[in-house]
């Protein structure tokens, strides 16, 4: 059991333990720390705020309701939360629900605005984002495009092969090679494990 006078001083891993015990305040803290990044990822993937809200809400409620177990061996709590939201967004994209929503509402891009840099943590994350984007931009175009179609577009390898008119083996190879190059680029710029 986690005992603390101020829950806000707890590390993410300890917060997750309290969430697992059904503590709403711990859950609120989890959202405060990672809800913005989760919403931003969903918004980047689906392109409208309404669907991004739904995905973020469903992702966080699934953590709350099923007491999903955080596995520290798979990386940080942030990576884990973003993984859950990513999976939800991929499901949504593959169901085609987003296209339906886009017909219903054209809002989204015009409403988008960057969150203000309020804290040092946010400033560091913004810098981190710039660095990862630079590393992605440095990949050969075919590898970067394949990775972006898969991760942000929610396309399967066979769909990408069809879109690009390339053999499936080529697409899979680009994914692996692209990730390998990205890993090397990032390890040159950041301490090992900085993204885990």
């Amino acid at each position: 059991m986690v005992v603390a006078t101020d829950i806000r001083n707890l590390a993410d891993e300890e917060v997750m333990q309290l969430v697992g015990e059904g503590d709403p305040r711990a859950f609120e803290l989890l959202y405060d720390r990672h809800g913005g990044a989760a919403f931003s990822l969903a918004y980047r993937m689906v392109g409208n705020r309404v669907t991004a809200e739904d995905i973020t809400q469903e992702g966080f409620l699934s953590i709350w309701r099923s007491r999903l177990r955080y596995d520290a061996s798979r990386g940080s709590v942030r990576t884990w939360v973003l993984g859950i939201v990513h999976n939800r967004a991929v499901d949504t994209l593959r169901r085609g629900a987003v296209h339906e929503r886009r017909r219903e509402t054209m809002e989204g891009v015009e409403e988008s605005h960057e969150a203000p840099e309020r804290t040092d943590v946010e400033a560091i994350r913004r810098e981190e984002a710039r660095s990862v984007r630079s590393a992605l931009d440095a990949l050969p175009d075919d590898q970067r495009r394949t990775i972006e179609l898969a991760y942000f577009g929610g396309f399967s390898h066979s769909q990408i092969a069809e879109l690009l008119d390339e053999p499936i083996g080529t697409v899979k190879g680009r994914m692996r090679l692209g990730l390998d190059k990205l890993r090397r680029q990032l390890s040159e710029g950041f301490a090992a494990g900085g993204f885990a």
Binding site: P24, F27, E28, Y31, D32, G35, G36, A37, F39, S40, Y43, R44, V50, E53, D54, T56, Q57, F60, L61, W64, R65, R74, G75, T79, L82, H86, H113, E114, A115, P116, E122, R125, R126, A129, V132, R133, I147, A150, Y151, G154, F155, S156, H157, I160, G169, V171, K172, R174, M175, R176, L177, L179, D180, L182, R183, L186, S187, G194, F195, A196
Partner: protein, 230 residues
Amino acid sequence: MSSRDHTSHRDDVGAYLLGALTDLERQAFERHLAGCPECRDEVERLRPAAAALPRSVEQVKPPPGLKASLMEVVEREARERSGTPAPRRWRRSLPRLAFPRPLLVGVALALGLLVGIVVADEDPRTEVASVDERRVPGASARLQIEDDGENGAILRLQGMRQLELGRVYQAWVERDGEIVPAPTFEVGRDGRGAVAIPDDLSDADAVMVTRERRGGARAPSERPLLVVRL
């Protein structure tokens, strides 16, 4: 594991980490991973690169209503698990919105057609809502008012329909011809729900409920489904 099996799965590592395998392919790959240390090592070696991808995203601010609606669900479910009643919520400042007079007249006229009764109890006072029975047949609601309304109230509803994904109920407070937004809420599968109204209701004229987009609205988008006159 055969070397042929390994060869056929080796190139799946990238697609696996990017979520680009189908469910069946992913399950097959995970079965392969369980018996293939080489592929496991490769997955772990490349995992940080895949984990960095969401961090490349431009940060956008989530709507404040997202957290509010999420926490309403979480707090309600936590109370249901523990069997404790809803706590009194802190009063919060809400933007006061001008509400068009003609629309108010329309709302008042529409409410004249509603079926409803009002009863009063001693401390805490309870008011029964007038319900638009055409739009929410079988629904009922009671507003439990604390301390003459200075510390807000709790609206309890039953017989309500669960709304589709992305839609929520929203409470409103009417005062001197203005309608200000109050919290959004959802109802359970049994049609029951509750929402704490944190406003000072001592000089309020009515509490209403409409259906809105998740996250809430700044002005009602439809005629009220139910109204509690104060």
